[in-house]
Each structure stands twice: as structure tokens, then as C-alpha cells.
């Protein structure tokens, strides 16, 4: 229970930067920058997993899987897609100013809520330690920011980035909630996200060809 081997400070700092990259990925209007912010976040998550791996060697596997799926393949698909399209995001539902305020409010509220109410979310003795509390608070904050992004953005590419954030949030929480998850389960969970991103971008590419835009609000063929 000695916090020393957890590199507590490193984990704290990395966690905060992960939250900041989420906000950037959600708010930045240029898709390429948003994808960069996402990639940075993916690398930070890998770094975080490596710091936690000091206490739980199983997490080395998780870090390696995350490196390949989140930090290499997903950004590759994103950049390949954005490279073939306009870089500007379709204007979202909420303007930039109010959106930053909402995101900040969500971030602070959720961080504080989960940090203080940890016993409900994770009834384990281990999760009561400060590093794990921070980890879970960050995980749920990233999750909520991803959900916010998915719900309010019109641009299909942005919703895919939001989906990735959503998944990142859940996967981060596995460090505290499910540290003994077998490699097969981790592998399955991580692989599916990449396949989902690939398929979604493939379908969105089809949409762009047929509709001439990635604006999801223009998808009105099926209104009854």
C-alpha cells in the first residue's frame, strides 16, 4: 500500500494532461488538430498504463495493445480519412464559447463527483487509494466528454473521435476496476474499437460520396 512504486506524481500529471487532450479533441474545429490531440492522448494513456504496470505486470500487455490499437492504427485511419477531405469541422450544435464552458463544467463536476464518491463506483479496497481514485475520476471525465462530443457534434468525423474518447474513458477505468483481466479479454476489447473505427470511417466515406458532406444532420432520407 506504499504509494511510492506507483510514481504517484507522474500518474497525477499524466492524468491531468489526458483530460486536457480530451477537451482539445472535442473543442478544436480543425479536424486534423483534433486527431492530433486524440493521438497525443493515446500516447499518454500508454504512458499511464506503463506507470501502473510497475505494480501489475499484466498491464504491460494492455499497454502494448493500446499502443498498437489506439496510438498507431486509430490515428492512421483518422488521418487517412481527414487527408482526403476538408479539414474544417461542420459547425456543431453549440457555439465555441458556450461549448468550452459546458465542457469545462462537465469536466470539473464529473471529476469532483467521481473522485469523492469512489466507493459507489468501485467498491474495492485498492480503488480507495489516491492514484486509483485519480485514475477513475479521469476515466469517467474522459467518458463524459466523449459522450458530450458524440451528442452535440454534427460532423461525422468528430463523432468518431468522440466515440474513441468514450472508449478511452472506459479502457482507462479497467486499470483500477479490472487489473486482473486476462489478456484475451483485453485484446478483444481493444481490437473491437479499432475495427469499429475502421468500419465507421468506411461507411462515412460512402456517405460523403453519396451525400457530398459529412454533416450528420443532412442524413434525412429515412425520416418517416
Amino acid at each position: 500500500m506504499n504509494p511510492q512504486p506507483f510514481h504517484g506524481d507522474v500518474i497525477q500529471t499524466l492524468s491531468m494532461v489526458v483530460v486536457i487532450t480530451s477537451v482539445i479533441a472535442v473543442e478544436v474545429r480543425r479536424l486534423r488538430f483534433a486527431a492530433v490531440a486524440y493521438s497525443v492522448q493515446a500516447l499518454l494513456i500508454v504512458a499511464l498504463l506503463l506507470s501502473f504496470a510497475a505494480i501489475n505486470p499484466a498491464l504491460y500487455w494492455w499497454a502494448a495493445t493500446a499502443l498498437v490499437t489506439k496510438a498507431i492504427l486509430t490515428p492512421y485511419f483518422l488521418f487517412r480519412f481527414i487527408g482526403a477531405t476538408g479539414d474544417r469541422e461542420i459547425k456543431p450544435l453549440i457555439g465555441f464559447g458556450p461549448s468550452v464552458v459546458v465542457a469545462a463544467a462537465l469536466m470539473i463536476a464529473f471529476y469532483r463527483l467521481t473522485h469523492s464518491q469512489m466507493s459507489i463506483l468501485a467498491p474495492t479496497a485498492m480503488a480507495q487509494q489516491e492514484v486509483f481514485r485519480v485514475n477513475l475520476a479521469v476515466a469517467s471525465t474522459v467518458f463524459v466528454l466523449g459522450l458530450y462530443c458524440v451528442l452535440t457534434r454534427r460532423d461525422a468525423v468528430k463523432t468518431v473521435i468522440g466515440l474513441c474518447l468514450l472508449e478511452n474513458g472506459v479502457h482507462l477505468s479497467l486499470v483500477s476496476l479490472a487489473p486482473e483481466l486476462p489478456e484475451t479479454a483485453l485484446f478483444g476489447v481493444a481490437t473491437e474499437v479499432v475495427v469499429t473505427v475502421f468500419l465507421l470511417l468506411y461507411v462515412i466515406a460512402g456517405l460523403r460520396r453519396e451525400f457530398g458532406t459529412t454533416d450528420t444532420f443532412k442524413l434525412r432520407e429515412l425520416q418517416c
Binding site: I120, L121, A122, P123, T124, A125, A127, F143, L147, V150, A156, T159, L163, L166, E167, V170, S173, L174, L177, A178, E180, L181, P182, T184, A185, G188, V189, E192, V195, T196, L199, L200, Y202, V203, I204, G206, L207, E210, F211, T216, L219, E221, L222, C224
Partner: protein, 507 residues
């Protein structure tokens, strides 16, 4: 109930999903070969699932669970019921599709060689879709359950968007996006269950991943954590199952997918999600009995909203899709009630609806095959030209409306009785009301399409009855609807075991 924990080691659970998965891989490998090759593998692969389902029955009915790989895969009555439904509906769909895809313009609106090129993708994904559904029903690992449910989405995503035109792409995008968001919630729920089960300290290491083990420690999990987990699971698996208000993807996907895929989506995929929901949430029935009222309310809301949305539909496939939302409400009400009678009725309706909705979608597919039209207003008077399709559709329509002596009547009656027994009269009244509305919607559609005078446009192409390869599966399903209605006791041994898995009281 005492022998619920008796297990027999067997390779059947693994075969249930590896057989179609391998067949699918072979179709992809042989994509240069002909249509005959792909279709034989599709039929063989899905028939293998049905065969495995049948082979599971003797042990399962005797109250023993089949396990393999430790307890990583575990088949009890509930799993066997789902595997059997997936296998039967899957193989009939594969047979039905042989002639359906041969009609120009149906599976690919591109026509000609382009259609032929995409056919192996169609059959390969179809087999993987069936495999992932079967996998989800046999796995005992709570995280793998999530992985399998998400795998069904991935395998079917491109099938929903198969036509690759504006409508199909929109449906495919919504399908992939909404279901992935939804299912991520389910992952949180699954992880919370695992974490809290491990934290009770009564299960060693990886035992906490096994759903069958988690059940035994559920009372030790703090109620607040359990409630949060259940909320996430209901949103997650509920989205996939088409429970209102998470259903908006369903009419789009079910209507725009090629008909054989609609059959699988409505016939078995949403059932498999309902299974995942029941399997995980029922863990907490004994410790949180107040859950049942919440689930019943959710189911009632779903069945009323679904059928009200179906009322004004002019598109036959959208009408059937909304009716599926409504019918899944009955399953949720029955299973959510948590009593033996409720679970029995809910699971019986799950099985019946798999057959009925597969039948109805196949019949609508036959109409589209013969006329190229699916708007009710543009159809009429088809009973003369297509007597078999008309008869099959009528049987399906009456069965889904709960008309005696068909199977839908038996299962709905069981749900009504279970609600009355539990004293939830408001829910029983709402369920009967939804049944009446279903009757209105379905019979009206049947009359309009098959018995009303044909609309005045003349000069139409000659409409003929569909080939035997298509009406034979429909006839089989219609026969199943009649037989299960007249002899509901045939399903008793299996349903009894399946209901006992979920039910906490009243057996």
C-alpha cells in the same frame, strides 16, 4: 432447482460458434469460386448451429449445463434455447437467401457483375454474424459477453449498409454509431459487475469473470454499485435489443438491410441482446427485487411506443421493424418480472417471436421479390397471384397479434397471467391493449397487401408466386407457429430449464 449446478464437459458450446466462423472464413477464402460454393457453406455453417443446438438438448433438458475450457463456455437451458433459435432461423434464412439474391436488383442494386463480386462478402459476413451471435450465447465470461455482442454489431454493420446507396449508408452509419455507443455503456456495466464481484473476496481471481460464479456472490455486492451497473447494462444491451427509448436505430436498420439480414436482425439479433440483458441483470434479482417493477415499466413503455409508431407506417418493412420493438417489450416484461411464470412467458415469446418475425419478414421479402414494391398503398390483391405467401403472412400476422390457437397467443397469455399473478394489473391492461393494437396494425396490413382490390395502375409486370426455395422456409416457419400454438407443451422441457435459470421465485 437443486441440480442447476451440475455440469458436463462437452465441446458442443465451442462448436456452436466455431462451425459458422470457419465456414465464413472459407467463404472469404473462396471468393473467386462460384455462388454455389458460397451458398453451400452458408447453409452448412448455419445448419451446423441448429444441429449443435439440437444435440445440446438431452443434457440441458435433464438439468445439466454443458461446459468447456474450464467454465469459460457454459450452456444451460437458456443458452441452448438461444442457440437453437439462432441455428433454426439462421439456416432457414440461408436457404431463403439462395433464390432471393438471384433476383436482379435485390441484393445489389448495382446489378450484373458488381453484384456477383459482392456476394461472397454477403455470405461471409452473414456466417460471421451468426457465429458472433452464437458465441455471445455460449460464453460464460462477462467481458467476452460484451465482446461478442459488439462483434455482432461489427459483423452486421456492413450488411445493413449493403446496398451502399443513400438510404442504406445512412442506416448503416446510425446502426454502427448508436450501437457502439450503447454497447460501451454495457462494457462499463460488465466491468463494474466483475470489479465488485472480485471485491467481495469470495471468488478467486478469474472466477469473478464467470457469470455463473458471480450469481452466487451477488447478494454481497453493495446495492448502490449494483444499481449503477444495472443502469449501464440496461442502456447498453437495451440499445441493442431495441428497448424504447433507445430504439431509433432499429426501424432504419431493419428496413434498409437486405431482407435475409432483416430476418436475422429482427428474428434473432435483438433476442440475443435481450438474452445478454437478462443474463446479466438477473444476477441481481434476488438481492434487488425492486428492479422488477422498473423493468416491467420499461417493457410496457416499449411495447406501447413500438406499436403506436407502427400504426401510421406505410413501408411494410418499417412497420414490421416497429412491431419488433413492441414485441421485445413483451419479452422484457416477462423476463423482467423475475417470477418463474413471467420468465417462462417472456422466453416463450422470445422463441415464438423469432419464428413469427422471421416468417413475416420473409413474406414481405417475397412480396418485394415478386413486385419490387414495399409501400402498402402501392400493393393490393396479391392473394390471387401469391396464395402461399398470402397464407404465410396471414398466419404470421395472426400469430403476432396473439390470435388463438397460434403460438403468439400462448406466450402472450402466459405473460398476461404472470402479470396478473404478480398483481401488476396496470401492466396487464397495457399489454392487452398493445396486443389489440398489434392485431389492428398487422391484420390491416395483411388485408391491404393481399386481399384489397389492386391499385389502378395496370400494365404491371406479371406477378407470380415466389420459387419453392423461398416459400419452403416460410411454410416451415408457419408450421412451427401453428404447432407451437396447438402443442405449447412441446417447448416445455427446454423452456422450463431456461426459465429456472432466470427466475427467483415461483417455480
Amino acid at each position: 432447482m437443486s441440480d442447476l449446478n451440475a455440469t458436463v464437459s462437452s465441446s458442443l458450446p465451442i462448436l456452436a460458434f466455431t462451425a459458422p466462423a470457419v465456414a465464413g472464413a472459407l467463404v472469404f477464402l473462396g471468393r473467386k469460386l462460384g455462388r454455389l460454393y458460397w451458398q453451400s457453406f452458408a447453409i452448412a455453417g448455419s445448419a451446423a448451429v441448429a444441429l449443435v443446438g439440437v444435440l445440446m438438448l438431452p443434457e440441458v433438458v435433464a438439468g445439466r449445463a454443458l461446459v468447456s475450457w474450464g467454465e469459460e463456455f457454459r450452456v444451460d437451458g437458456l443458452s441452448a434455447l438461444l442457440v437453437l433459435a439462432i441455428g433454426l432461423v439462421g439456416s432457414l434464412t440461408a436457404i431463403y437467401s439462395v433464390r432471393y439474391v438471384a433476383q436482379p436488383g435485390l441484393v445489389s442494386r448495382l446489378g450484373g457483375p458488381a453484384a456477383e463480386r459482392r456476394l461472397p462478402v454477403f455470405y461471409g459476413l452473414l456466417l460471421w454474424f451468426i457465429a458472433s451471435m452464437a458465441w455471445g450465447c455460449v460464453t460464460n465470461n462477462i467481458i467476452m459477453l460484451y465482446v461478442a455482442v459488439e462483434a455482432t454489431t461489427l459483423a452486421s454493420g456492413l450488411l445493413v449498409a449493403f446496398y451502399w446507396d443513400r438510404r442504406a449508408l445512412e442506416a448503416g452509419y446510425k446502426y454502427l454509431m448508436l450501437l457502439t455507443i450503447g454497447i460501451t455503456f454495457a462494457l462499463v456495466g460488465c466491468v463494474l459487475i466483475y470489479a465488485s464481484a472480485a471485491a467481495t473476496g469470495s471468488l478467486a481471481g478469474r472466477q469473478a469473470l464467470l457469470i455463473s460464479e458471480v450469481r452466487s456472490v451477488a447478494p454481497l455486492i453493495p446495492a448502490r454499485t449494483a444499481l449503477i451497473a444495472v443502469a449501464f447494462l440496461v442502456i447498453g444491451f437495451g440499445t441493442k435489443a431495441g428497448i424504447a427509448p433507445f430504439h431509433p436505430w432499429l426501424p432504419d436498420a431493419h428496413a434498409e438491410a437486405p431482407t435475409p439480414i432483416s430476418v436475422l436482425l429482427s428474428g434473432v439479433m435483438i433476442k440475443m441482446a435481450a438474452y445478454a440483458l437478462a443474463r446479466t441483470v438477473s444476477i441481481f434479482y434476488p438481492s434487488l427485487p425492486q428492479l422488477t417493477v422498473f423493468l416491467v415499466a420499461l417493457g410496457v413503455f416499449t411495447m406501447l411506443l413500438g406499436i403506436l409508431a407502427a400504426l401510421p407506417q406505410q413501408d411494410l418493412k418499417r412497420l414490421l421493424a416497429y412491431s419488433s420493438v413492441s414485441q421485445i417489450g413483451y419479452v422484457v416484461v416477462g423476463v423482467g418480472l423475475g417470477t418463474y411464470l413471467g420468465c417462462y412467458g417472456g422466453l416463450f415469446h422470445l422463441l415464438n417471436h423469432a419464428f413469427i418475425k422471421a416468417l413475416l419478414f420473409m413474406a414481405v421479402g417475397a412480396v418485394i421479390y415478386a413486385t419490387g414494391v414495399r409501400r402498402i398503398a402501392d400493393l393490393g390483391g396479391l392473394s390471387q397471384r401469391m396464395p402461399l405467401t398470402a397464407a404465410c403472412f396471414l398466419v404470421g400476422a395472426l400469430a403476432i397479434a396473439g390470435f388463438p390457437p397460434l403460438n403468439g397467443f400462448m406466450s402472450k397469455m402466459t405473460v398476461y397471467l404472470a402479470l396478473a399473478q404478480a398483481g401488476l394489473w396496470w401492466a396487464a391492461v397495457a399489454a392487452v391493449l398493445a396486443g389489440v393494437l398489434t392485431m389492428v396494425v398487422m391484420v390491416r396490413a395483411a388485408v391491404a397487401v393481399f386481399w384489397r382490390a389492386a391499385p389502378l395502375d395496370g400494365g404491371e409486370k406479371v406477378v407470380r408466386e415466389v420459387p419453392a426455395g423461398m416459400w419452403a422456409p416460410m411454410l416451415g416457419l408457419a408450421a412451427a407457429c401453428v404447432v407451437l400454438g396447438v402443442f405449447p407443451q412441446l417447448a416445455y422441457p427446454l423452456l422450463d430449464q431456461a426459465a429456472a435459470v432466470l427466475a427467483t421465485v415461483g417455480r
